[in-house]
Subunit: 331 residues, 2 copies
């Protein structure tokens, strides 16, 4: 296993210590449990708390800050955070207006966030993201997996929360954004979880896993490596047909080309160009684009394409100022 | 070769098209040659033009925009841009105040930027960056290589240029920042140049290349993989001893932990924590930190550590607003 690491046990803690030190103007570590919270707590608003297994950085800790999350709970690599962790985060940042949990649709995450919500005194609500069109059920999932579209939900809800939206309003808005958002991924290589010490799966030199999950879960099929254009066509067809089936056939969209951690920037932008062509061919308008490593799978070579059907109201929330470690504009 | 690619010939052009489309609020492609320039040209200031072989993204095109570069010339992967390309960029963005070229110290880059400067009518000056302490001469270099410290030079000069600094002042400031900046890299794996189709070099499963260049050039030695702490200690000793030899033994520094493209964020921040400890042990103050993929080597697993000795005046320029594809704060 080739990693910059001291010991498996110290891996996450040492990394979070570095993250908090580098971004101490934006975040600090929880005093009473393993979570990342805004350095300057925001009061008088609904608190947004997310989390999940580590290994997907910058999701979620990199999205804590003004205009986005109030706290994030990192579990061990590809392992759900514990209910205690989540409760500590909710108690640290939550006030009278309540706490909204944003949870990717995996059985472990849902269970632990649900337990934390039950333990928490005061109002809570939960938005579940399930944007991955690749498969209906998966290794750790009933229903679709929550993947990179979660970033879009967190950004838009973050802006609305900052403006004083109520818990009920945020819950409805989060469900709406999720219902407008679809993703699909593809892997060229596996990643290696530190505690496992070896690659999660094996792909031949000429193979790719189409529809892969962000933990390396199987996708739709394992096929021969194709051209970037052919890969983009297959992925965009899956994403856009599913969106069309839900009634989103035209209008403006946000396109997210998300690297899984081991794909060079040149290739991500090349795939953005291919995806843009597919949008145009179907009469959709590229209103905003975001390209980079945002919801990763450690060092996996691969990427996902996410399309979110938006309108003026949602775009205005997307454009609102945000100041986090990984997403920053307007301030 | 596992890449998101259509053809080797179309690779760079398709990627740049995607880059320009996604960031069309910040950049546009040159009309008369292959370069990236600010979408809204800035007048009445010295124009900053950089460039070099592609494969190091976001350097340099990702640093074009308000508060940083006016234009960047991407060569083919790991290949210098041509004099014509550089001249076209300089002519597109340069005005009466002159053009400052920022060039990493590689023979091909220096030669081609020099030819462009000779062809350009009007005042020009050139800042050469050579921050890599690993080796004195290298495959394509007489003297030290220019690597990730180039980002710090470009950011600080960008801020000063925006405020109206003269060509002479910017040349002196650029040389000064370069003289205060040191870097060293380490590779765990090679990258694969598309046109070559196979890895540039081979490392055994338990080996690393200490002092590697950003094109995979040999470093100081090939040794057994060590702990993150031991790697950080060796790299920081090389960087900080060299800085100390130049008179920079204490005071505030900017720390850049730069991923080469294939290293997960968790590992980069863990290395930031290790580097921070080394700074503290030697009595240096971590004034600012930046962690991420900024000067890459395609999909290479590895990273570099850069330390720049600063003062209040340089920190103020570092903190000044910047709006580029890859670096953005304050606006």
């Amino acid at each position: 296993m080739k990693k910059f690491i001291n010991t498996v046990d110290a891996f996450l803690g040492e990394s979070l210590a570095g993250f908090a030190a580098i971004h101490n103007d934006i975040v600090s570590l929880g005093e009473t449990g393993l979570f990342v919270r805004r350095a300057a707590l925001a009061t008088g608003k609904v608190a947004l708390v997310s989390g999940g297994g580590s290994g997907h950085e910058p999701l979620h800790a990199g999205f804590v800050g003004k205009g986005m999350l109030d706290a994030a709970c990192p579990g061990q690599v590809f392992t759900s955070p514990t209910p205690d962790q989540i409760l500590a985060a909710a108690n640290a940042v939550g006030g009278d207006k309540g706490v909204l949990f944003i949870v990717k649709n995996y059985a472990g995450d849902r269970m632990n966030f649900e337990m934390a919500a039950e333990m928490r005194e005061g109002p809570t609500a939960t938005v579940i993201t399930d944007d991955d069109v690749a498969v209906e059920n998966s290794t750790w999932t009933t229903g679709r997996r929550g993947v990179a579209g979660t970033l879009i939900v967190e950004k838009i809800l973050g802006a609305a929360a900052e403006r004083g939206a109520s818990l009920e309003r945020l819950k409805a808005l989060g469900d709406e954004v999720n219902s407008r958002t679809r993703s699909m991924g593809v892997a060229l290589t596996s990643c290696t979880v530190p505690a496992a010490g070896k690659p999660t799966f094996a792909l031949a030199d000429d193979e790719m896993e189409m529809g892969v999950g962000i933990h390396g879960e199987p996708g739709r099929h394992r096929v021969k490596l194709a051209s970037a254009k052919a890969i983009a066509e297959e992925m965009m067809a899956a994403v856009l047909n599913d969106l069309a089936g839900a009634g989103f056939r035209d209008g403006p969209v946000i396109l997210l080309v998300n690297g899984f951690g081991g794909t060079p920037s040149l290739e991500l932008y090349l795939m953005a160009e291919m995806a843009k062509t597919e949008l145009k061919r179907r009469g959709l308008t590229l209103a905003r684009g975001l390209v980079g490593n945002y919801v990763t799978s450690l060092e996996m070579a691969g990427l996902s394409l996410t399309v979110s059907a938006v309108d003026e109201r949602l775009l205005e929330l997307w454009d609102a100022p945000v100041k986090t470690a990984a997403l920053r504009w307007g301030c």
